[in-house]
Each structure stands twice: as C-alpha cells, then as structure tokens.
Symmetry: C2
Subunit: 449 residues, 2 copies
Amino acid sequence: MQMQSSCSLPRPKSPPMARSSIIPSSLSDGLVFTAGAFLALLIFLGLYCFLSPTPIPNRLFSFSPSFSSTSSHIDDTYDPPDETFYDDPTLTYTIDKSISNWDEKRRHWLKLHPSFSGGRERILMVSGSQPYPCRSYHGDHLLLRSLKNKADYCRLHGIELFYNTALLIPSMNFFWAKIPVIRAAMLAHPEADWIWWVDSDAIFTDMEFSLPLDRYRAHNLVLHGWPELVYKKKSWCSLNAGVFLIRNCQWSFDFMDEWASMGPQSPDYEKWGKLQTSTFKDKMFPNSDDQSGLVYLILTGKGGWRDKIYLENEYYFQGYFAEIVGRLENISARYIEEERQGPAVLRRRHAERVFVSYAKEMKVQLGKQKGADTGPTGWRRPFVTHFTGCQPCSGDRNKVYSADNCTLGMYKALNFADDQVLRIYGFRHASLVSADVQPLPFDYPRSEE
Amino acid sequence: MQMQSSCSLPRPKSPPMARSSIIPSSLSDGLVFTAGAFLALLIFLGLYCFLSPTPIPNRLFSFSPSFSSTSSHIDDTYDPPDETFYDDPTLTYTIDKSISNWDEKRRHWLKLHPSFSGGRERILMVSGSQPYPCRSYHGDHLLLRSLKNKADYCRLHGIELFYNTALLIPSMNFFWAKIPVIRAAMLAHPEADWIWWVDSDAIFTDMEFSLPLDRYRAHNLVLHGWPELVYKKKSWCSLNAGVFLIRNCQWSFDFMDEWASMGPQSPDYEKWGKLQTSTFKDKMFPNSDDQSGLVYLILTGKGGWRDKIYLENEYYFQGYFAEIVGRLENISARYIEEERQGPAVLRRRHAERVFVSYAKEMKVQLGKQKGADTGPTGWRRPFVTHFTGCQPCSGDRNKVYSADNCTLGMYKALNFADDQVLRIYGFRHASLVSADVQPLPFDYPRSEE
C-alpha cells in the first residue's frame, strides 16, 4: 500500500508559457507531441523489458479477470477457463497409462500462466515416508527432524517441498514407491522445471549450497555416481538412486515408464531380478531394485537414455554418511575459524530472507582457502549426507553399521545443519551431539576471542 | 527469456512524411516533442503503479548492485551494507533484554529491501516440538504427519513455515517455550507482518480457508475465544493459547515481555501461579500457565493490552477436537455431494499453484447452501482441529479422552486434510481411517454416479 501512495506521481504544475505547448494548437504540433509520447513509450517499454522479466501487468492491455478486487496485485493463482491438459479425460495421474506430448502440454499451460514463465528455474523437492509408525524407537523422530531439515533448506532457497505419506500403487512399495509420486507431482506442478527427489534419510548438511543447474542444461536426470564404477567395476553402487534431479519433460515421463517396468507390479519383475543379479556381482539381494535398474540402463545404453543422464561426483550431490559423520566436528570448527578470521561480512547478522547472499560471501571466502574442498579429504561442508543402509525407520540396518553409527550419526548431521539455521535466530547447539542450545553473542565468533 | 524477446517491440518504420516530425527542426517542436514524451511517461508510470505494486526495477533509476549478472532478475536476497538494527551490538535475540523502537527499525529495514514492501500481508507460521523422541508409540509419527500437514497448508497459501526443535531458554519449557521462539522469529523475519503460532497438535482441516486478515487490522493479537467466558464465567478455557496470530511490531515485543514475566524463569512465577489459581476456579493445575495468564490480562485489563487483543469465534480459528472428529465423515460426504451437484468448475482438475482460486469457487458454492456453517451444528470444514488435552507425544492425555478418541481422531483429521491435498495429485484415501489411497477418475465425483 505504501508503495502505491509513494509511487503515484502527482501531475506536475505547468508554467503559463509551456501551457500552450502541452495543448498544441496546430495539427503539426499535435503530430510532434504524439511522436514524442510514442517514442518515450517505446523506449520505456524496451528498457523495462530488458531490465526485468516480470510481465507488464496484463491489465494495462486487456481486461483479464486476474485483477484482484481487494488489491491491485496480479493474482498468479488465477486459472483461465481455456482448455489445458487437465481437461483431457484420457490423461491420468497413475503410472499405468503413458503421457504423450507433455512438452507441448506444459508449454501451453505456461503460456496461460505467464507469472510462472521466465526467471530462474523452478524446483519442486519431493520426499516421503510410510503412513504408519516406524518400528524402531528413534525412527519417526529422525524422520520428523529430517523433514524439518528439508523444509529449512527449501525455505532458505525459495524451493517448494511436497512430502508424501501415501503409497500410491500398493505393489510399488519400498524404493519403487517414489516413481508414481514423482510422476503425479510433475502433472500437479507444470510450473516446476525440475523435480528433486530426496530420500527421507538424506540430510542437507550445507544449507548455503545451491545446485549448479547450469551444469545440467543438456541433461534430464542427475544422480550422484561414478562412470568408472558403472563401466569398469559394474557395481550396483556406482550411483545412488535415493537423491536425484529429474527434469519435468516428456523424456522423463518416457524414462520413468521404462524404469517402472522393472518394478514389482510389472510382469517383467522376475526377469529383471535375474538380469540385474547376473550383471552386478555385488548386488545384495536377488529382487529387481530401482538402483541396479538405473545402472543397467546406463551400462548397456539400452533405450538410449544414458545420453541425458548426468553422473555428478564433483560435490556431495549425495554423500555416503560413513565417510562424513566422523569429520563433522572438524568441519564445523574450520568454518567457525573462517568466520573468526575472515571479513566482518561473514559474521554480520541478517534476516533469513537474505541468507543466500551471505552464502555467496562465504563461498568467496572458502575459494581462497586451501583444503576447503568437498570430498573425503576436504573440509568443505558436505551438501547432502545420506544415511543409506541405516534404515532408521524399520531398524533393518546393514549390519556393517552399528546402531550408534547410524542413529548418533543422524543426530549429529541434523544438529550440524540445524546450527546453520538457528544461527539466523541467534542460537547454536552446545555441541553436535547435544540438544541444548546457547545464545550467540554479537559478532560471533570473533566475540569469543 | 521468451518474454523478453516477445516483449521488446521493434522500432516502427516511419513513413517519409512523418520523418521530419520525429526529428523536429525547431526549438518549439523540440519542446512539444519533449512535453509529449514526458506526459506519456507520467501516464505510463501512474497506470503501472496503480495496477501493480511491484517496484519498478531500481536499475532503471540507479546503479544498485542488486543486479544479478546471471539474469536480469532483481535479486531480492541482496542485503545492502547500510546499517540496520542487526548491526546494533546491544540488540539480542534472547528474551532477557527488551527491544525498543522496533516499528522504526523494521520500517528502516523494509525501506532498504523494497521487494518486501507492499502487496498482501506476509505471514510466517511457527511451530515446534521437543528435540528428543516421544514417549508414546504414535507420538512422533503424529508429529511428523502434523508437520507435513502444516507444510501442505503453507505451500498452498504461499506462507513460510519455521518448525523449531530447540528449547531456547531451558527454564521456559512446555507451553512457555514458544515465546522465545516467536520473539527470535520476529527479529529474523522483519519482512513478516504476522507470526502465526500453531501448536504441534493442531491440524489444518480446511486447506481452502484463508485468514480474514482485514478483520484484524486494528489488533495485534488474535486468539480463539469467547468474551463471555472471560468476563462472566472467568474460565481459564475461555480462549486457547495454542494457536494465535501476533503482529510483528513493538506492541508485541512489549506484550511478550509482560506475558513471559509469568513464566517459570521469572521471579514472579509463584506469585502468578497463586493469582491465576485464585482467579480461575476451573484451572486444572496450580502452576502459572500461559493461557491463564492471557485470560488474566484480558479479564483485568491490566497493562491495557486487551484493547489490541481480538477474540475470534466466528470460525474455527482453532477448534476443540472432541466436537469435530465425530463429524468429519459427514462433512466429507457433504463436500463430495456439493462437488457432484455443483458447477463443473468444482470438479475441474488443476495445478496446485492455482489452488486458491478454486477454493474461492467452493466458497461461493458453500455460500448458497443451508447449513454450510462453521461450528458444531454446521457441515463446513473446520479450519483448524486442535487436539488439546490429547498430548500425543508424552501420552499424558486428559483422562476424559480415551487413547482411541485422541489417536484415532488425529489420524482421521490428518487423512481428512490429506485428501484435500492428494486430490491435486489424483488420489484420495479409501476412508478417513485408512492409509490406503485410490486414484480419482476424471470429473470425480460426478464420474461416480
């Protein structure tokens, strides 16, 4: 409201001499006047469009009913009556029926909803867990803290989060359950350019890190993995299917159809189990699984999908918890030292809404430091720490890991992340293994010298 | 990017006769031309500001470093180096030290961050729970589902959510714990006009309902309650302190200082316990509690706070679960009937992002129906269903309620709400007490006739 009253400029008072210029008396003056007005409008529109992709309000040019009567704010929740793919009775949200021409359908929807076009790429994060309590004592509490962790990351980065607790296709359970959810989410969110699936046991441990989306512009599916492990070692662990980015496009629908055809609801399920087991000597159980299925498609090139699949390993797109949790105290101490020694901007208190710009400052600072690398030998915060094999909910963890390693490890990772958020609210944990928190003094951590 | 290329209008080809008009040869022509240009600019700016509160990009008028080099999008995460309240060493996030001149401090911050000025009022929802597992079996699972429920509501309505699991002041535990969190959140979110505290056991059961904020423009604190129960019955239950809206302003900081002075960390804690117990004959335990404290301040008018406190009872700003859960099946059936009989727009599939405009359509439809009232005799969906007294986490429920009433009731309310979200993804629960879900056919529920 203030903006409007300060924005609406009063009509300037014209001096007597200029009065006749503003109201030209001759036709030629009128033409000159109109020419000036027209040229000014052209220049302004051109400058505006160049400097800001925000559409000029429709209401300047039409009587679009998107005008909200309670304020003059453009209503981006308005849905025009024009037909879209939603009005097609043959389109279903379920996985049994393929989608076609999705790119065109989505493009058409975006044209009718211009608020969602242009600007930076939109991501929808999707995660989920079972609809009934966990068997293990800490299970649901860890899931709760993990959901909070995801909500924190998304809030800091302007990303939407959909957490699902419904098993959409009863026969597609466990790790297969995510495929129907992702598919339904793509249809429900045509404005999203990417769906980012993140397992419930994957924790964001670097709140400051943003995905380098430019890197993936020529690809449609991004996972953490190593090509040499795919092609040379033929390992079912050469990538991780618990965290991935998938582009909201026709390729992805087709890909998910193929991927899902290896699942338990498919008549080919057993065949795929045998094929995967014979291909991957280190596969741990005989049934077809989503991860082995992915490796198989990349290894064999079957279907031609691999050209659009990016195996990311330059940072912890998802990181194996066992090589991370033991280092978290040290990483935390190094960051505190950077903030203590570094420029004042690293210690400056600020609103949560401007978090990302301070993250950039820290990135610059880290860029100057030796050893501030990602990976098992560096002290850069790991982006995502994935407790794969811990099974905190069922308790059926891989016996290679102790309950302490897993459970305590998860609490440490969660507190490590929570410290980065609580900082904005003026507090931090007493230690990574403590639920207790302490207030932070002004100019922390330099004030602790 | 598309928008830019479609936006930048080509320079029109000028006919030979007009050429000399565009490049005036005389001084008076120049004045007329300039006058025309200036007037066009004024009219355009005025129209633009009137129709859209989005600030005209700073870069048209200054060289603000908020220009992002990777796109021409205004960077609203930019924090200028100008001093704000954050740079004041005497300001603390903790509750032991008062804040002063907050309205001016906040106004100054908003001036430096114009993206957050104007438009509709911003709300930050805040909730939380303990940092260690619940004692009761279903406890953490219900908290997890409840957090998902809040995240769903916030995502649908463009509201931010902060879920806290840290006890900021050890001595301010249980229901007192929220006050330090809200205070810290106000400082961390100067862009928020309101903080909306929602207890962890309060479930959003009408996803379509939006807060009627206009109603509260003259108040700073909104709770569910009844004046007659305050003044006539002098009941500690005349309002509920588990769900409230508090304005982000100096009044609220001062109010919270007074409210917190009744808490366990205060030297007056015992005195307040005795005062509250002698004032409210139905108070259930002798220690000072936040809710009785609030009723006391309104009843006595002490401190003059009550003039800015709004007791809302025209809808379930928060609703007592025991008068709601038994009616949920019936309410669900009535809504399905409305959708079946009503106009096609109520059944139209749509993106989640335009949910709010379909909610408005349903509101119009309900306005025509007898009995579609809120309250114990109506069949309007209750906005918030609050399981106060159930204590799902500790299990120490009020013995008036059975475990089934509470636990089963919470699952029903959560599924009732989840149905409204899953609908957008093409599914619904088989029943309110079932975790199983079913796909929805096109034109549901008319397709089921």
